[in-house]
């Protein structure tokens, strides 16, 4: 299974949108936070987990998804949300805590919810797993089409919810895919210091389901393996576990000094930045020419600029709105 030219164009453009979005957020996040860095200050307060470098996972998987398909995401959700088609303006506004945001400013960056494209988040590690299985179960019970994808980090594969849900999904043959983004770190703790196996895809054996590992953050390979797993799920053959080696180019969150990284690791990761790498391959294989790609990039930038401007110009929620929307 190989991506078509149109799909490759979408994948590249979406990766660029995601990166440009993160670049913009990163810059604005620092406004009001210097010389003293206090998370509470600035137009975007709170924690900020950027997804720079992890874009291939989001696009390689979401290239196969339709709006009706379900995605549950993590505390690091921007790339996944963008690839799933979450409204970029409303998402930006939510990250700014504005009234025009996806949830009127109640959720913020770790709690992005867009029912139009079946996208939900949790800031609690591995807690997207259960809801993904439940969404898949619901589709099965209702006879409605759709698969569910739960994205988690490699650190989350040591959480009970991961193991319980994988067993459940396998037992009930649910149309679910668990995608592990292996960026080698859970905050400051290396995967090797936290996980009893080298690669998590081997754990699929304990649920009797297929498990795949994809190295090098390769969008083509991710597309292929995810496509097959999603096809399998759509055909009623049950869940798949996929672990993908990806790169966290930023800190765990903004403000992270990253003193735990071995020397040279960041340089090495930047040298393998998946966006320039994909651009190069698209050129080498003559899928697109430089002008095509430049245009995609500039379109991506304008989309991001528009979303950020929308967020900036939107009004704050009324303070008392905090007391509304607790119940349906």
């Amino acid at each position: 299974m190989q991506p078509t030219k149109a799909e490759l164009g979408w994948m590249y453009r979406t990766m660029v949108i995601s990166r440009r979005f993160e670049n913009a957020i990163e810059k604005i996040y620092m406004e009001g936070k210097s010389p003293v860095f206090n998370m509470a200050d600035g137009p975007i307060p709170g924690e900020m987990h950027l997804s720079d470098g992890q874009e291939p996972v989001a696009v390689g998987v979401c290239a196969h998804l339709k709006p009706e398909d379900i995605v549950t995401a993590t505390h690091r959700p921007h790339h996944q949300a963008i690839a799933k088609g979450v409204d970029l303006k409303k998402m930006a506004a939510e990250i700014f805590g504005k009234a025009s945001g996806l949830s009127g400013g109640r959720g913020g960056h770790m709690h992005l919810f867009d029912a139009d494209v079946n996208f939900a988040c949790s800031g609690i590690i591995a807690q997207g797993m259960g809801p993904a299985a439940g969404g898949a179960l619901s589709r099965k019970l209702q006879g409605k089409p759709g698969v569910a994808v739960s994205f988690i980090g490699e650190g989350a594969a040591n959480q009970g919810a991961f193991h319980e849900t994988m067993n459940l999904a396998a037992l009930w043959k649910l149309p679910m895919i668990c995608v592990i983004e292996d960026n080698a770190w859970g905050i400051s703790v290396a995967k090797s210091a936290a996980t009893s196996v080298q690669k998590n895809h081997v754990r699929a054996a304990s649920y009797g389901i297929p498990g795949h590992y994809i190295s090098d953050n390769d969008p083509w390979k991710i597309y292929e393996v995810a496509g097959e797993a999603i096809e399998r799920a759509r055909a009623g053959e049950g869940p798949t576990l996929i672990e993908i080696e990806t790169y966290r180019l930023a800190g765990h969150f903004m403000g992270d000094a990253e003193g735990y990284r071995p020397e040279g690791e960041k340089d090495d990761l930047f040298a393998r930045d998946p966006i320039p790498a994909m651009r190069q391959r698209l050129l080498d294989e003559a899928t697109f020419n430089a002008a095509d790609l430049d245009q995609m990039e500039s379109e991506a930038q304008s989309g991001v600029d528009e979303a950020i401007q929308f967020a900036r110009e939107s009004a704050d929620p009324a303070p008392e709105d905090a007391l509304t929307a607790v119940f349906a």
Partner: protein, 341 residues
């Protein structure tokens, strides 16, 4: 002060642990990012260097596993300290806490002891939304079998930690992020106070009078104490004398100190950053009312977090949080209006 040694709560906690670890080889620490990083909130800094990887253990993100393991180790003669990074994460591991840690002493008729400390961060105010900003004091204090403490300053932080480490019972040690002295979470200057170098204990279950007063008693814990003290300064200018009680411990609860203070002032405000209903604020008010403290001059009031999840947006979160203004307003109303007989 001469020889003043001002520490942050984070450093005071680490110092208490280090001192006990030197004395007692059964004390060890585990949690996420507590070794190499020294804890996301800085309270285990320096421990790895001094005590090494066996006794200062980074864990996988497996709270139910390592907290359950702490229970087993405690029952087997160790004195584990575990960190639950944010109290909000209790959802993934509460069985180990309230069904095992808190009940095994009782179920075993006392033939098992569970001497462990579970330290966990609380509190919001910096726009981290409702899965990373709660206090949940009441949720823990409600369930029997575990002691619960929460310091408002570095002196108490050290003494309570030492006491917790020496206690033969499980202790939940809740530290408020806004008081940790980590610059990136803001810094409440009042929390950084002189801390003696030598080891000492603050008795668990004893409240402190943080400020003497005669017209109204403001009872609180952790961050709320600082809000209460700020309010008391403002009220002083109005001619209202506020007494501030820092509970320091929720379990056991020093009901005597609360009653004595309210007996003196005749007015009670409870400041609680935890949710309004079914929590600490209700418990404190009941403590006063059910023993018929005579001469209440006004109905007791509570300034607590409304019963809604904590929103991200700054304006909404700040609207909900207790603050000195809300306390001042309540005290002014209470000191003008007497309860009709």
């Amino acid at each position: 002060m001469e020889n003043e040694r001002k520490l942050t709560i984070a450093r005071a906690m680490a110092e208490a642990m280090a001192q006990e670890m030197r004395l007692d080889p059964t004390v060890f620490v585990m949690g996420e990012d507590i070794a190499e990083l020294g804890g996301v909130f800085g309270n285990t800094r320096g421990l790895l260097d001094e005590f090494g990887k066996e006794r200062v253990r980074d864990t996988p993100i497996s709270e139910t596993g390592f907290i359950g393991a702490a229970v087993g180790a405690a029952q087997d003669g160790m004195r584990p300290v575990v960190e639950l990074m944010f109290v909000d994460f209790f959802g993934v591991c509460f069985d180990a806490i309230y069904n095992l840690m808190a009940k095994n002493t009782y179920f075993s008729g006392g033939n098992f002891k569970v001497p462990m400390v579970l330290m966990t961060s609380t509190g919001g105010g910096y726009s981290d939304a409702g899965q990373h900003s709660q206090c949940l004091y009441g949720s823990f204090a409600h369930l029997p079998g575990m002691k619960v403490v929460s310091p408002s300053n570095a002196y108490d932080a050290k003494g309570l930690m030492t006491a917790a480490l020496r206690d033969d019972n499980p202790v939940i040690y809740m530290f408020h992020k806004g008081l940790q002295g980590m610059g990136w979470l803001g810094t409440e200057a009042g929390a950084n106070v002189h801390v003696p170098e030598e080891s000492y204990e603050i008795e668990i279950g004893k409240a402190a009078i943080a400020r003497q007063g005669s017209d109204v008693t403001i009872v609180s814990i952790a961050m709320g104490v600082h809000n209460a003290l700020k309010a008391a300064s403002v009220l002083e200018a109005d001619g209202i004398s506020a007494e501030v009680v820092d509970l320091r411990s929720l379990v056991p609860l020093d009901r005597e100190t609360v009653r004595a203070s309210v007996g003196k002032t005749g007015r009670l405000i409870v400041v609680d950053e935890d949710y309004h209903s079914y929590g600490v604020s209700g418990e404190i008010i009941a403590t006063v009312c059910e023993t018929g403290v005579s001469g209440l001059k006004a109905p007791p009031r509570r300034i607590a977090y409304p019963d809604v999840p904590i929103p991200f947006a700054r304006v909404m979160e700040q609207h909900c949080l207790p603050n000195p203004d809300k306390i001042v307003a309540a005290a002014r109303e209470m000191c003008r209006v007497a309860v009709p007989a």
